[in-house]
């Protein structure tokens, strides 16, 4: 489904991504972990083009995304973004629109679906994330956990092949984390492909199929959560895990 080949990105003197290669197959939940500043978010954001990269290649559902700017990249990006949803740490809901309008924005204006159909889908998604009664309110009236669930519904409304989660629970109070992770776990069970940047070890243990540890722009260790958490091989992983525990 998604393949990254030797992706490199440099910011001035500092090399943020130093040749990252990984792949995510359909229906798989991949978690990116690692110390702060290791390049997790940057890597995630290169997949849907919110960050550029300098060399290497990304394949999403057999659409090739290269580093060169220009019309080719723009065209690929548009195709990729329709297939790849994203959930941000800070939600980034559209404050001038109601919850329902936030969810139908993409289907109606990007995919060109009928408004009526989009609303039906949106209501179904709101029910799925447990916010049926909030369709007409503005996002600013919701709690952080509720806003993140709306953001997930907004991503789902595009019927994406894969959803990227960029630290989806880091901005939430602990008591709200659960309501978001349970929605994500539910998605995982239904076979949704996901790539999740998170520090939440419990989520990784219970939901992820693959865990990639990223440090200083490189994947230092990959494997099943059981492997990684039980017998970490790399020094960085050990240090990082002891830090989390």
């Amino acid at each position: 489904m998604i393949q990254l080949c030797d992706v490199r990105k440099r910011f001035g003197e500092h090399e943020i991504l130093r040749g990252v290669s990984m792949s995510v197959s359909k229906g798989e939940v991949s978690v990116l972990m690692g110390p702060s500043g290791g390049g997790k978010s940057t890597l995630l954001r290169t997949i849907n083009g919110l960050e550029t990269f300098d060399s290497g290649a990304i394949l999403v559902d057999s659409i090739h995304l290269g580093p060169e700017p220009g019309a080719m990249r723009e065209q690929s990006l548009r195709a990729i973004r329709r297939r790849v949803g994203m959930v941000f740490q800070q939600f980034h809901l559209f404050p001038h629109r109601s919850v329902l309008e936030n969810i139908i924005e993409g289907p109606v204006y990007v995919l060109g679906e009928s408004r009526q159909h989009a609303i039906e889908v949106a209501n179904r998604l709101l029910k799925r994330v447990g916010l049926s009664d909030k369709a007409q309110v503005r996002p600013s009236t919701l709690s952080g956990g509720q806003q993140q669930r709306v953001a997930i519904a907004r991503a789902l409304a595009m019927n994406p092949e894969v959803i990227l989660f960029d630290e989806p629970t880091s901005a939430l109070d602990p008591e709200m984390t659960a309501e978001v992770t349970s929605v994500m776990a539910d998605l995982a069970t239904s076979g949704q492909t996901m790539i999740v940047v998170t520090h939440d070890m419990n989520f990784a243990k219970s939901v992820a199929h693959q865990v990639h540890v990223l440090s200083e722009g490189q994947i230092v260790e990959s494997g099943s959560p059981q492997q990684i958490f039980a017998v970490p091989l790399h020094e960085t992983t050990k240090r990082f895990l002891s830090h989390l525990a």
Partner: protein, 538 residues
């Protein structure tokens, strides 16, 4: 009858006959591309049209051109009557066109009017740039001082008595008196320029900042004498000059016909009758032909002997109208003018906002060349005065063949001027929208244009409502500047009627109330809009 003061833009030019094209200028403003040359066909055009369009400024226009006290929608004045006489002797009707006094020659060059007939004196310079007719009036200048304060006999004595201190003499800026002092006494007096003839007299009367005297056109003084009881003339009239009709330089045929008509009016006594009616006839007028045509041919003809002295009860004079009466009489005119002000503002502002928004977007998201271009444009627009921009649009664009109707030129000028400010406001507004909004929109697969339209600009708009409202209110007041390009809006109508009646306070209050009444609902609407957008879904 005289021109109609109610029309905001009394200049109706007939459709240019050959090759006129409509073209859509950006922002949907229509302009006329006149490919016709005005030169040399003045008389033909006047005859074809059946109207002689004469330009003058009714503001402070007594005894020249001013609203009739009995019916303020009608114009009277000796120049109104002369214009009608000239037109009828050319076999056509006279049509008045309002223009700011100092811009009348520009209107002539633009082709909006056929002649300027508004106390323009003959000068060497003018005679080279325009056709100058035979004089229809010989003016003199009168020095005026406060009554009882001086027993001086004239300007020279005033200068001598003042010693080392230069006497301060007020004049109408650009008037004959101004020229006279500049040429003859520049080193000896301080010249203080005023915007209106009546203001100078008022200034001397109330002793404004040590203003010693006023050098005034004699006809103006003759006309206003009764309204300024605290003023008295110092010495006898001095200087001498000629009010002439101006035509375009190459309209020689028209000029010849006008001269013929003026001569006719002099010989058959029409001119004298008109001048007497306004109390302007004096002996100097009788000597006109002697001065103008030294060969003597017209001496006898000019001064028609046997004409009895004027019927003094019929003399039209300045009658100050004050109090409630003037408001009742002329209030409606101010209301109508307020309509033009509203029309200007509500047409210009949406265009300014739209253009400003596009400029802000171009500057922030466009390619580098576009961003720099927009930045330069914004700086140029913000860095130059509105009055100059209007002048360029209205008077200079016709030189490259792009002639825009006065109202639309006003709208365009205001829209362009304000677009620069709106652009900067919108730039700040867009910057105030969190970065994540754009990322979320892109992540949904939106193109930059769609993201701007659906996500960024609606949020920026909510942010900019207060400063934009502020500008809208400012624009309402800036519409007043459009009077330089002949758009007669509220401020201009106020000036015209305040000066012709002396009711500066009464009409001023009404004008202020009208502006307030226009702006207050704007503020209300804006704050309601702001609340509504901040609250529930639209």
């Amino acid at each position: 009858m005289a021109g109609d003061t109610q029309h905001a833009h009394p200049i109706h030019r007939s459709q240019p006959s050959c090759g006129a094209k409509w073209l859509m200028v950006a922002l949907g403003i229509s302009a006329v591309l006149a490919t016709e040359s005005f030169g040399g066909q003045g008389l033909d055009r006047v005859r074809q049209r059946g109207r002689l369009i004469w330009g003058a400024d009714q503001e402070g226009g007594g005894p020249f051109v001013y609203p009739d006290a009995a019916d303020p929608t009608e114009l009277i004045g000796f120049e109104v009557e002369i214009a009608e006489q000239l037109a009828s002797r050319l076999g056509v009707a006279a049509q008045f066109a309002q223009g700011q006094w100092d811009k009348l020659p520009d209107l002539l060059n633009r082709g909006d009017i056929d002649i300027v007939l508004n106390g323009y004196e003959w000068t060497q310079d003018r005679s080279q740039r325009f056709g100058c007719s035979l004089p229809y009036y010989i003016y003199q200048l009168q020095l005026l001082g406060r009554r009882g304060e001086t027993s001086m006999q004239g300007l020279d004595e005033l200068i001598k008595l003042s010693g080392n201190r230069k006497p301060k003499i007020g004049v109408l800026g650009g008037s004959a008196a101004h020229d006279y002092l500049t040429e003859n006494h520049a080193a000896q007096v301080d010249i203080i320029q005023f915007e209106g003839a009546a203001e100078v007299m008022r200034g001397v009367e109330v002793g404004l900042e040590g203003l010693d005297a006023n050098l005034q056109d004699l006809p103006v003084w003759t006309f206003f004498e009764k309204g300024f009881t605290e003023l008295s003339p110092i010495g006898s009239p001095i200087g001498k000059g000629y009010y002439v009709v101006l035509t375009r330089r190459d309209d020689e045929e028209l000029l010849r016909e006008l001269n013929r008509a003026i001569l006719e009016m002099l010989t058959d006594g029409t001119m004298r009758t008109i001048l007497e009616k306004y109390g302007l006839w004096n002996e100097v007028q009788a000597s006109r032909a002697l001065e103008m045509l030294p060969n003597g041919q017209f001496v006898a003809a000019t001064v028609r002997s046997g004409s009895t002295a004027s019927n003094s009860t019929n003399v039209t004079e300045y009658e100050p109208v004050r109090g409630w009466n003037v408001v009742r009489q002329r209030g409606l005119l101010l209301f109508q003018a307020a309509g033009i002000t509203i029309l200007l503002a509500v047409t210009a502002m949406p265009l300014a906002i739209l253009a400003g928004m596009l400029m802000a977007v171009g500057r922030m998201f466009g390619p580098r060349w576009l961003a720099s271009l927009v930045t330069i444009i914004i700086e140029i627009i913000r860095g130059t005065p509105l009055v100059l921009q209007l002048y360029v649009i209205f008077f200079l664009l016709p030189e490259i063949g792009l002639s825009i109707h006065a109202f639309w030129a006003g709208v365009l000028g205001l829209a362009i001027n304000y677009s620069a400010y709106e652009a900067e406001i919108y730039r700040a507004g867009i910057q105030a929208v969190p970065r994540g909004q754009m990322e979320a929109a892109k992540a949904l697969g939106m193109s930059p244009v769609l993201a701007l339209r659906r996500i960024i600009l609606p949020q920026a708009t909510r942010i900019v409502i207060p400063p934009v409202t502020n500008d809208f209110i400012a624009l309402f007041k800036d519409t007043a500047v459009c009077s330089v390009i002949t758009v007669v809006e509220l401020s201009k109508v106020y000036s015209i009627h305040a000066r012709s009646t002396g009711a500066i306070v009464e009409l001023g209050l009404l004008t202020a109330v009208l502006y307030l009444a226009m702006n207050y609902p704007m503020s209300q609407l804006a704050s309601r809009l702001e609340k509504r957008m901040a609250r529930g879904p639209a």
